[in-house]
């Protein structure tokens, strides 16, 4: 790790990491707490974990939430990337409208957007449920994704793609080898963000849930009606471990596919010249 060159930044970063993980440590510790009231340590137990793992609500909730988060992330990425590609060759006026719609989706408070979609779906007799939730999430997830992808796109040199085209690459090949590769960090970041947002969302999920299975955050919300129990913490930790495992599998699968490592720097052009 490159620390010596930037000691101040390194120091702050260490503090940031501690700050981010501190609550997690509390969650982990409390999940083994025999004391049901969050008022001190009452002894070690794994009882809450067995309760959580046993709980059908929790299992179904996790399944449901995963489906929603993955679906919404993928949809949002598709929307963000296609939109960003269009944006590059769009007229300034069209761009302004497009950007305005992105900002608007982010500015609109979620509770308003969720209620509006609820009323709309009721009016057009669209069944509430998982599809409705995914749509609801994608409305704002796609905006966040678009912002991140565009921040990256703004610095892409079109000369790279023109060069590829001149060398005889088809538009699809150009996209795959040059554009997509260059955008990859942004795509990963945006996908992670969208997934994280959906994974944790309560407001939109509550409104658009209908009679479908309950997403996990809503299950947890219902469980804390009277008190926070260590079981909640056990659920939180289990969910985190599970998602990390899932992500690791995804990353490993992607890495074995061979494309991991491209960073869109100038070096890529050499690859194209070399005909790879």
């Amino acid at each position: 790790m490159n620390v010596r060159r930037h000691p101040f930044a390194a120091g702050v970063s260490l503090l940031v990491l501690l700050f981010m993980w501190l609550p997690l440590i509390v969650v982990a510790v409390n999940s083994f707490n025999q004391q049901t009231i969050m008022a001190g340590w009452g002894g070690f137990t794994t009882h809450w974990y067995s309760l959580a793992l046993h709980d059908q609500n929790v299992r179904t909730g996790l399944q449901t939430t995963l489906y929603i988060a993955i679906a919404s992330a993928l949809l949002s990425l598709a929307i963000a990337v296609t939109g960003a590609l269009w944006w590059r060759q769009a007229s300034p006026k069209a761009r302004a409208v497009y950007d305005g719609l992105i900002y608007a989706r982010i500015i609109l408070p979620e509770v308003v957007s969720a209620t509006a979609l609820f009323f709309l779906f009721l009016k057009i007799h669209f069944t509430l449920g998982l599809t409705a939730i995914v749509i609801g999430h994608t409305v704002w997830n796609s905006a966040y994704a678009a912002i991140i992808v565009q921040a990256r796109m703004a610095g892409l040199d079109p000369a790279l793609e023109e060069a590829a085209a001149d060398l005889g690459a088809t538009p699809w090949r150009t996209f795959r080898r040059v554009t997509f590769a260059a955008l990859l960090p942004a795509i990963i970041a945006a996908g992670l963000l969208a997934f994280t947002f959906s994974f944790d969302d309560v407001v939109t999920s509550v409104f658009l849930q209908g009679a479908s299975n309950t997403p996990l955050p809503v299950v947890i919300l219902g469980m804390i009606r009277f008190r926070i129990t260590p079981e909640i913490n056990a659920i939180g930790l289990l969910v985190m471990l599970f998602t990390v495992t899932l992500m690791s599998f995804a990353v490993l699968a992607y890495a074995t596919a061979g494309s991991l490592g491209r960073s869109g720097r100038r070096g890529n052009m050499l690859d194209i010249y070399r005909g790879r």
Binding site: N2, M20, Q89, L108, V112, A154, D166, D200, I232
Partner: protein
């Protein structure tokens, strides 16, 4: 028509345009429109239409029993929130949100900068390290802050061990709300800034150094300009939702600090006064949109393409 030396008419035609661009334009146009379809679908049907509904509601009135909204044309909903009660709350929200966003920007920028100077592998590791805590539930995380910040909690005991008299008294004050918001939004600030900074070629730094630039000058001339799009994106992504936050003030603020988000959420969740809530939402949106477009106008980098 020109004539060559032999008297044959030569049509002077324009040189054919280079093959590649022509190929791009023809199939390009169709492709460009096709590229826009996903965005159009999601924005028109699922956003503009509901937004229109909200705007209509803001001029309507509601039956407080069955919460049916009537379309009417009244500005009563807009006039209602000029009362001092709401103005006071909005001002307090603004101060809290703005200061938290600024703190978030400074800290987030530093972290993003640090990540961007690492090897690709380390970068990914650090990014993941900052996001993984978010894969627990928001509710669980926020309540763990209650545990952390309460008097007789770990932070309090540490402070007292270090010599503090009395208790830290942070929980259930605006400070704990600030910490909660900072915590919840830091990754959102870090990601876009990182994405902007990551594409700075390290060679640029070496070049600048070779030319005798001090670290600060390098930073100012190389790093900062590149970071601006990401920074602005981050401030928007963090600042705007921070204004509308209502869960964190409830949990970490002990319900004692009413914020704009609480008032807004209340209309939709508790009282069912959709017209008033819609008027609030529309007003907030208009103000923020104007702000954002002014920001964009003042920032030339984003349009350079």
């Amino acid at each position: 028509m020109d004539r060559d030396q032999g008297g044959v008419a030569i049509e002077r035609v324009a040189a054919p345009p280079p093959a590649a661009p022509r190929r791009r334009v023809d199939s390009g146009r169709l492709a460009r429109v096709a590229l826009l379809i996903p965005t159009l679908l999601i924005t028109t049907i699922c956003f503009v239409v509901p937004l229109g509904l909200i705007a209509l509601y803001s001029f309507g009135s509601v039956n407080q029993v069955d919460f049916n909204v009537f379309f009417g044309w009244t500005t009563g909903n807009y006039r209602a929130f000029t009362s001092s009660l709401y103005v006071h709350t909005l001002a307090r929200s603004l101060v809290l949100s703005v200061s938290t966003t600024l703190a978030c920007a400074v800290i987030g920028f530093t972290f993003a900068y640090f990540i961007s100077r690492q090897s690709p592998k380390a970068q990914r590791l650090l990014l993941v390290a900052v996001i993984v805590p978010f894969w627990t539930s928001f509710i669980v995380r926020t309540y763990s802050w209650v545990d952390l910040l309460q008097n007789l909690g770990p932070v309090d005991r540490l402070a007292r061990a270090l010599g503090l008299d009395g208790h830290i008294d942070i929980l259930y004050t605006p400070w704990s709300i600030g910490i909660g918001i900072l915590y919840s939004y830091l990754p959102l600030m870090i990601l876009p800034i990182y994405v902007s900074l990551e594409r700075i070629d390290p060679a640029l730094f070496d070049a600048a150094e070779d030319l005798g630039a001090t670290p600060w000058r390098q930073f100012r001339r190389v790093v900062l300009p590149m970071a601006v799009p990401g920074l602005i994106a981050g401030i928007i992504i963090v600042g705007v939702p921070a204004l509308g936050e209502y869960v964190i003030p409830e949990i970490l603020g002990g319900g004692k600090t009413l914020m704009a988000g609480n008032i807004l959420a209340d209309q939709f969740l508790q009282t069912g006064n959709y017209p008033f809530g819609s008027a609030l939402a529309v007003s907030i949106m208009v103000v923020l949109m104007v702000l954002l477009f002014t920001l964009r106008r003042a920032q030339p980098a984003a349009d350079a393409q």
